[in-house]
């Protein structure tokens, strides 16, 4: 019983964290012109040079890895809820849960390897 309450509470908490971290990411990537108007010059964040500069900083690598972790939890838990609402059999439910968990762990390990590897290049 407590487990399901914690799963739901974590969905809420991760939602708030994503709003902060992904908000930073969206503002940096998309609202460049507005930020330049306000005085912050970002030098075209999608270009190679700007991206390499960011990937050498530990803060940015940390932000991306944290964002990946909470985003994967929130999205895959949501996906699991949507699939479970179609009421598959108990065996299918277990298979779906383990498949989603395995997928999440694999994606997290792979996609957080890249920022860490790029830190030293």
């Amino acid at each position: 019983m407590r487990r399901y309450t914690y799963l739901w509470l974590m969905q809420l908490v991760s939602g708030v964290l994503i709003a902060v971290l992904l908000g930073i990411h969206m503002v940096i990537q998309h609202l460049e012109d507005i930020l330049r108007f306000l005085g912050f010059n970002l030098n075209n964040p999608a270009s190679w040079n700007s991206m390499i500069e960011r990937s050498r900083q530990v803060t940015w690598a940390g932000i991306y890895i944290a964002l990946l972790a909470v985003l994967l939890y929130h999205a895959l838990n949501g996906l699991r809820n949507v699939i479970l609402e179609l009421t598959p059999s108990a065996r299918t439910e277990r298979v779906v849960t383990w498949a989603i968990l395995a997928f999440g762990i694999v994606v997290f390990i792979w996609a957080s390897y890249v920022p860490i590897a790029l830190l030293s290049r």
């Binding site: 809420l12 939602g15 708030v16 994503i18 709003a19 992904l22 908000g23 969206m26 998309h30 609202l31 460049e32 012109d33 507005i34 999608a46 270009s47 190679w48 991206m51 990937s55 985003l71 999205a75 949501g78 996906l79 949507v82 179609l86 994606v107 792979w110 996609a111 890249v114 590897a117 790029l118």
Partner: protein, 147 residues
């Protein structure tokens, strides 16, 4: 008396989308679900681009960026930005209402009945207003930054 087997009558997943002429919040629910799944799908493609293509060096990255500056992909990116704005703000409203902060207190029902979501409808409209403002802000940036 002969046993009659009742005939199943579930609406199924179609019932998420439409089950009758209900009001606003039921459609905010289905939009929240659709935007969430849409962002998940985008995330998978985005992770492929920013991991495989980024780690292979500048030539691959620049050609990938050139491929993705096609107007079709730019429109898709704008839709993802809009979906994110909607999902974030509607999610904020859901967090506050599901924990009972923007809900009314239980009162004895007096005709004509008005449920708590309807009485707190001004808050929902405020959230939708903020979503529309964010959509316009993102739209301005997509236009100025080159379609």
């Amino acid at each position: 008396m002969r046993q009659i087997r009742p005939r199943p009558n579930y609406l199924g997943a179609g019932g998420w989308l439409w089950a009758g002429n209900y009001k606003l919040e039921r459609y905010l629910y289905i939009l929240h679900r659709v935007t969430g799944l849409g962002i998940l799908l985008f995330l998978l493609f985005h992770l492929i681009v920013t991991t495989f293509f980024r780690i292979q060096g500048q030539a691959v990255w620049d050609s990938a960026m050139a491929f993705l500056s096609n107007p079709l992909f730019k429109t898709g990116e704008y839709l993802v930005a809009v979906a994110f704005a909607f999902h974030m703000l509607n999610g904020l409203r859901l967090i506050l209402q599901e924990l009972g902060f923007i809900m009314t207190k239980p009162i004895p029902p007096i005709y004509p009945y008005s449920d708590s979501l309807r009485r707190k409808r001004p808050w929902t409209m405020l959230i939708i207003g903020i979503i529309i403002i964010l959509c316009l802000v993102f739209f301005y940036d997509f236009i100025v930054g080159g379609w």
